[in-house]
């Protein structure tokens, strides 16, 4: 049975059809990559799944219950946690405080919260920054903080919105290893939006391609990248290697 299931999800912004009749299903422990051109509706999809936006129609089911249009905090507490493409740190707090806040709903007590935060901060490689104001982080650091905060909330399903963007190729490796490890060790289910195809190919069990709000294709990474419609709509536009086109 699938852990996360969307059916017939529709979302319009004024005239713009940001999501149209989206069907999607993710099983426990699966890693699903979401790709598509800019403005395809990927972030909107996350917003609808996590309760930041209500869909106009259709339903989102998580772990057997209908969570369509529920509040973001309800959905987060049930175990679906997302990161933000445009990073949203708590500006008045240090990095460690940002992270420990996310652990508050399952951990009590100053000492245990601190230990949990310390562990998660180390896991994403931000130890040096732990007690500095989050606003002092460079972009790459803020991306890691997004990841750390989501991890600290103990997700069953982790939804990542372009966490690799802005990282140097050398910085991506440890993050990719961490994501792979999350499934192995914690059994976390992953849905991740990513433009970097190398990462998508390496991590995903399955890839979902969005184009103009609609699901263009789903399948294994190899199937999807061989699909002429996908090449046409997305992959063709930009180089899949680092070589200049």
């Amino acid at each position: 049975m699938s852990l996360l299931e969307l059916s017939g999800v529709d979302k319009k912004f004024r005239g713009l059809h940001a999501l149209s009749d989206v069907e999607m299903s993710v099983s426990e422990g699966e890693i699903v990559g979401v790709i598509g051109p800019n403005g395809a509706g990927k972030t909107t999809l996350f917003n609808v799944i996590c309760g930041a936006l209500k869909p106009d129609s259709g339903s989102v089911r998580f772990s057997g219950t209908d969570v369509t249009g529920r509040k973001p905090e309800t959905i987060a507490r049930r175990g679906m946690v997302r990161t933000f493409q445009l990073m949203r740190p708590f500006a008045s707090m240090t990095v460690a405080e940002n992270v420990s806040l996310a652990a508050q709903h399952h951990t009590r007590g100053a000492a245990r919260l601190r230990d949990h935060a310390t562990e998660v901060v180390a896991r994403v490689g931000l130890e040096e920054w732990a007690h500095r104001p989050a606003t002092e982080l460079p972009t790459a650091g803020l991306k890691r903080l997004e990841l750390a905060r989501a991890l600290a909330a103990r997700p069953r399903v982790l939804l990542l919105d372009e966490v690799l963007a802005g990282l140097l190729p050398a910085e991506r490796e440890p993050v990719l290893d961490l994501l792979a490890e999350l499934r192995e060790q914690d059994g976390t289910t992953l849905v991740f939006i990513e433009h970097i195809m190398a990462a998508v190919m390496r991590l995903s069990d399955r890839v979902l391609v969005l184009d103009q709000g609609a699901v263009l294709a789903t399948g294994t990474p190899d199937e999807v990248t061989a699909d002429p419609r996908v090449i046409d709509a997305y992959l063709g536009e930009e180089p899949t290697t680092d070589a200049d086109a």
């Binding site: 946690v81 708590f90 007690h131």
Partner: protein
């Protein structure tokens, strides 16, 4: 650099700041205890005119602590805290005058009423997503409405207001003492100390941390499981209840309350100015602000009553305090945007990190 400074840095790698204390509230409680102890003998030392200023300072302090919880920690800028001050004042005055209820019970009742009203206004404001200037306007409008309602309502004596009935001698239970008695100061000190202690407790509780996170970024906070509505309501309720304490005590101290004194916009302004000058969103900002604003309000009052020769045109005028507040606000916002305490605290922690 001293040896101890080197020592304390060794725990982490160079450049990385050391971990803050696990329970920062412990130090704040210790500071509060010292401040309260130092303040206890004040009414015995100060001449009685200054004693009255000290009580005024404590009233400002309670108001500013209340305002700061909602608008500083919570980031919900209130321009209508007179509503909660007035509800505290009127609830206790009404119960005392009409039903002979002890002012202590009246104060507690006022806190409950203010908290309930704050939650109702809050609920509708949050439900319909009133933010920033719109939220401030809604709170202002509500306080004005209460002022007009009390002015025109016979149930609470209309524009005349309430006079606290005088008793023979003194009574703690009736919260009444001979004029100039140090007991007023001590009661105010307990109330103000309690308000600051509550604000410290709240700020470092899980709920208080959620509230600050929601202020910083509501969607991000909700997305890691912060129950938004519940925490906003808790914040406004606590803020309203603390401010009501100031109103109830004010009534007992000055023995009189009317709609303008209780719900007038100058009450809201005093709460804001005190917190802003001291430092919004900090524990000690309202304390620093209250000492400054409370003292100044006395200076302006004296100036207006008996101006020196060259200022004789001020004789008998009013409004000087409001002008002074405005000037101070402009100066603070220009020179120390985080308030006196907030700016100094930042400077110190910056230097520590160097």
């Amino acid at each position: 650099m001293t040896d101890t400074a080197v020592e304390s840095r060794r725990q982490t790698r160079p450049g990385a700041p050391a971990a803050p204390p696990l329970r920062p509230q412990n130090r704040q409680f210790a500071v509060l205890a010292v401040l309260v102890l130092l303040a206890i003998p004040l009414p015995l030392i100060l001449p009685s005119a200054q004693g009255a200023v000290a009580v005024r300072i404590l009233i400002f302090l309670i108001m500013a602590v209340g305002w700061n919880i909602m608008s500083g920690f919570g980031g919900m800028f209130s321009f209508g805290h007179a509503a909660y001050f007035g509800l505290g004042a009127y609830t206790s005055a009404y119960l005392l005058v009409e039903h002979g209820v002890s002012p202590w019970v009246g104060m507690a009742a006022g806190m409950v009423v203010a908290a309930a009203v704050a939650m109702v206004i809050g609920y509708f404001s949050f439900r319909y997503d009133l933010k920033g200037a719109y939220f401030a306007l809604a709170t202002f409008a509500f306080a004005e409405m209460l002022r007009l309602v009390t002015t025109s309502s016979d149930v609470v004596n209309g524009a005349v207001g309430y006079q606290v009935p005088l008793i023979q001698g003194s009574s703690v239970w009736q919260m009444q003492f001979p004029a100039g008695s140090p007991a007023y100061f001590w009661i105010a000190l307990v109330l103000a100390g309690g308000a600051v202690a509550l604000s410290i407790l709240f700020r470092h509780s899980p709920a208080g941390r959620y509230v600050v996170a929601i202020r910083d970024d509501e969607l991000a906070a909700a997305s890691v499981g912060a129950p938004v509505m519940r925490h906003k309501l808790l914040t406004v309720a606590l803020s309203g209840a603390i401010t009501a304490v100031a109103g109830a005590f004010y009534t007992q101290y000055y023995l009189f309350i009317d709609p303008q004194l209780a719900f007038g916009s100058s009450v809201s302004i005093e709460a804001i100015v005190t917190a802003v000058i001291g430092g919004i969103g900090t524990i000690w900002g309202p304390v620093v602000g209250a000492v400054i604003v409370g003292s100044l309000s006395d200076v302006t009052a004296t100036l207006l009553a008996t101006p020196p020769e060259f200022l004789s045109f001020l004789q008998g005028r009013s409004g000087l305090d409001v002008i002074l507040y405005a000037v101070m606000l402009i100066l603070i916002v220009r020179l120390m945007p985080k308030g006196i305490f907030g700016t100094l605290a930042d400077k110190i922690s910056e230097r520590r990190r160097r």
